[in-house]
């Protein structure tokens, strides 16, 4: 027996009070994990998770159905956003955790993230010390971190790390500190290595360290991109100005089978979607661009349940009027952990 179809005007979600009863969302199309568009699929969500995705799913009783006109895309994931002012000046602060450092009222600042579709962000300490401590994963607008200790920060950026009073003063100094510190750090630690020169990459390789790690190229990717083939690499959105050289560099990185994960670092969350749009235009591959701000970013953070519409993932969903990479499409509503936390004021008809 079909439940009565509640045709909601202008596709507004129902009230946002949390209720265990399941929801069936029936958008015009959804974005699949591989970034492509798929029409006619529905998403069943229960509490804060996605339960089923598919066509004419059999529904548990009490499911209410929401007809949505627009494209349902997974919420964007910000692969690395730096925590506010510089915390501690010692060369090694490996025990510092951003999970403890985020102030509660900061969550109200997430309005600007929600309004552009960023539903989860990976809060990393600033890479101003050789070992700056642990990052944490947050849902936008939530007061509790989803993952308390996600990645540890390791910085080989000499001009950021250099410190007149305590040293180190250059790359060899930083490498020497790592030589001493790394053996005593538990093997389970997974690092994000912030580098900006080929020499830093070469120096890291000589340490023969067996921790897991991913590289984040803060600058100069054209200088050492060739050595990161077949890897997942983090890129700051600040370097996405689309002059001819950057476009060519991105094409060559893709040809070297490198996967991108965009992070805003200190930039504004707006730049995440713009960077994906430019990547799509440069590489003529919208699916690859979508992944750079959803699945690849989630892989960099090391969490599987975000940035994807798949059973078991967080119900972080964003409703757009068209394909998110189409500049003319408008964000209608944003849902984090099954609750609609942001709704764009309806379009006043011109």
């Amino acid at each position: 027996m079909l439940l009565s179809l509640l045709l909601l005007p202008a596709a507004i979600f129902l009230q946002d009070a949390p209720r265990p009863s399941p929801w069936l969302l029936r958008p015009t199309a959804i974005i699949q994990p591989d970034g492509t568009l798929l029409e006619g699929h529905e998403v069943l969500i229960q509490g804060d998770r996605i339960v089923k995705v598919g066509v004419d799913l059999e529904l548990p009783d009490g499911t209410r159905i929401a007809e949505l006109s627009g494209v349902l895309s997974p919420g964007f994931v910000d692969a690395f956003a730096f925590l506010g002012p510089r915390e501690d000046y010692r060369p090694v602060t490996s025990s510092l955790r951003t999970a403890d450092a985020r102030s509660l009222e900061a969550k109200d600042l997430d309005e600007d993230r929600l309004s552009v579709g960023v539903t989860s962000f990976h809060l990393m300490p600033r890479p101003t010390n050789v070992l700056s401590g642990w990052g944490s994963l947050w849902g936008s607008g939530q007061s509790e971190a989803r993952v308390k200790q996600s990645r540890a920060s390791l910085s080989l950026l000499p001009d950021r790390v250099a410190d007149r009073r305590l040293g180190p003063d250059s790359l060899p100094g930083a490498l020497e500190i790592l030589q001493k510190e790394l053996p005593v750090i538990p093997k389970s630690t997974h690092f994000l290595n912030f580098i900006d020169t080929g020499e830093a990459l070469q120096g890291w390789r000589s340490l023969q360290d067996d921790h897991a790690h991913h590289f984040v190229a803060m600058d100069g990717i054209f200088d050492f991109g060739g050595a990161l083939a077949n890897q997942l690499v983090g890129l700051p959105t600040a370097f996405s100005f689309l002059d001819a050289r950057t476009a060519e560099t991105w094409r060559r990185l893709k040809k070297a089978n490198i996967q991108f994960a965009f992070g805003t670092a200190q930039g504004s969350p707006l730049t995440l979607r713009l960077a994906a749009m430019k990547l799509s235009r440069a590489t003529k591959n919208p699916a690859f661009a979508m992944q750079s701000i959803t699945t690849h970013a989630a892989a960099l953070v090391g969490v599987s349940g975000i940035g994807v519409i798949a059973p078991g993932a967080y119900a972080d969903l964003v409703l757009w009027s068209g394909h998110p990479l189409d500049a003319t499409s408008r964000l209608k509503a944003t849902m984090v952990s099954g609750m609609t936390v942001y709704r764009a004021n309806p379009l006043e008809e011109k």
Partner: protein, 458 residues
């Protein structure tokens, strides 16, 4: 002049001494000498081996083979295995000056003669390398730099060194440091239009005074004949010959124009050779249009760097000579892949049919010396004649001194260099340099070089 040097020079002044007469190079009696050597490269189309050159009263009177008969009163010197060669000519350099530019951008009134330091190491090194003529001119950090002068690198006073004082005026199209080219061109245009305005007002005043004088004369009142501006009567007018006419133009004489602007009037009249500093292709384009607008195209000589090779067709179209200063290679990075693309500019100029000359840049590391640069041209495939001409006859032609320097011709200057091998081989050494019939340099009496080679300390 660095401070120590100043001190040293002043230590001479304690001894009231007549420098010139005792030790000057162009010593009193202009020597007559004849050289019979292994080969004579005349750069005038012929090479004699063995060859003889006869110099009388500082001028070459005869050149020929071994059998050339020598006048009885001329001293003959024999160097069977040496080569005689007109010596290199440095077209355009600001070496030998204490500072290359004043910080006044428009300075047509300046002249290098006030700043050439005859005792500077620069000239000693040029002599040691076999350079016999240099075009010394202000540097490029200016709009109008001032007048240059062609000198020989030997002589105790600037007058003794001078070969020709009308080398020409330095004008920079390439922007002054810290300026954009739009500011540079605006300053140049402003200087010319200000001159035009001042000339017209001055002409009007002269016309008026002339008329007052004429009336007074008609009334044949004695009236003291004030000398200061009797222009109506003196015939020295007609100094301003450029641009369209205006009333009283032909009455303007040199004293009427204030001395700051006289240089600019000479330039616009077309009496000065203009050395147009156009480092890049864009500058060549703007320089050429500026010169064409003022009708000065056939007075300019382009002074370019390697990055102007893209304007080779423009330079060819203008038909004017070009001197290439600094490095001969242009390295351009592809805007996308940053892959270095190197172009050897003399080959581009040669294939475009341009008569170009080379200028060595006073650089620390590279061997930017004329002999070595000419050798590099041969290495990169240019014919030997073109390479040699670029450092001897072409510069002389640019100075308008073809029949005086750059080549050994009858009644040219008795200036030549004796080397122990081919001038373009880096290992051949300069044995002697003769300038206008007198010996300016001899390797055996070069104390500093000998000390260096033997490694003795002082």
């Amino acid at each position: 002049m660095s401070a120590q040097h100043q001190k040293m020079r002043s230590s001479f002044l304690l001894f009231p001494v007549l420098l010139l007469s005792l030790t000057g190079f162009s010593s009193a009696q202009e020597g007559s000498v004849a050289f019979r050597v292994g080969t004579v490269i005349t750069m005038d189309g012929s090479t004699h081996s063995p060859g003889t050159v006869v110099v009388e009263q500082g001028r070459i009177t005869a050149i020929g083979g071994a059998d050339l008969e020598i006048p009885f009163d001329v001293l003959l010197k024999e160097y069977p295995d040496a080569t005689l060669f007109p010596g290199f000519a440095e077209t355009h350099t600001s070496g030998g000056l204490d500072r290359a530019n004043e910080n006044v951008p428009v300075a047509p009134f300046l002249d290098v003669k006030d700043s050439i330091d005859p005792v500077s190491y620069f000239f000693e090194d040029e002599l040691r390398l076999g350079t016999t003529a240099l075009g010394i001119i202000p540097g490029a950090n200016c709009v109008i730099g001032g007048r240059g002068r062609v000198v020989a690198p030997a002589g105790m006073t600037m007058e003794a060194m001078t070969l020709d004082d009308s080398m020409g005026m330095k004008i920079a199209i390439g922007p002054k440091s810290g300026w954009s080219r739009s500011a540079q061109m605006a300053e140049l245009r402003e200087a010319v239009s200000k001159l035009n305005r001042d000339l017209r007002t001055k002409a009007q005043d002269i016309l008026h005074q002339g008329a007052v004088k004429a009336d007074a004369l008609k009334a044949d009142e004695a009236g003291e004949d004030s000398e200061e501006d009797g222009d109506m009567w003196d015939s020295s007018g007609g100094y301003v010959r450029f641009g369209e006419d205006f009333p009283g133009k032909d009455l303007l004489s040199e004293e009427d124009v204030d001395e700051i602007q006289r240089g600019l009037v000479d330039i616009l009249n077309g009496d000065e050779r203009l050395w147009l500093w156009c480092p890049t292709a864009t500058d060549v384009f703007h320089g050429k249009t500026w010169a064409e607008d003022l009708g000065l195209l056939d007075h300019i000589i382009f002074v370019v760097t390697a990055s102007a090779w893209k304007a080779a067709d423009l330079l060819m179209e203008s038909g004017r000579p070009v001197t290439l200063t600094g490095s001969m290679w242009h390295v351009e990075r592809d805007p996308v892949t940053w892959e270095e693309v190197r172009t050897f500019v003399p080959t581009v100029f040669h294939e475009a049919g341009l008569a170009f000359s080379l200028g060595s840049e006073k650089s620390r590391m590279g061997p930017h010396r004329l002999g070595y640069q000419a050798a590099t041209c041969i290495r990169e495939g240019l014919p030997r004649a073109v390479a040699l001409a670029a450092v001897t006859t072409n510069p002389a032609a640019m100075w308008g001194m073809e029949d005086q320097v750059g080549a050994l011709k009858v009644n040219a200057d008795g200036t030549f260099v004796l080397m122990d091998g081919d001038p373009l081989d880096i290992q051949s050494k300069v044995l002697q340099v003769w300038i206008r019939g007198s010996k300016a340099y001899d390797r055996n009496t070069d104390e500093r070089l000998q000390r260096l080679l033997k490694g003795q300390s002082r």
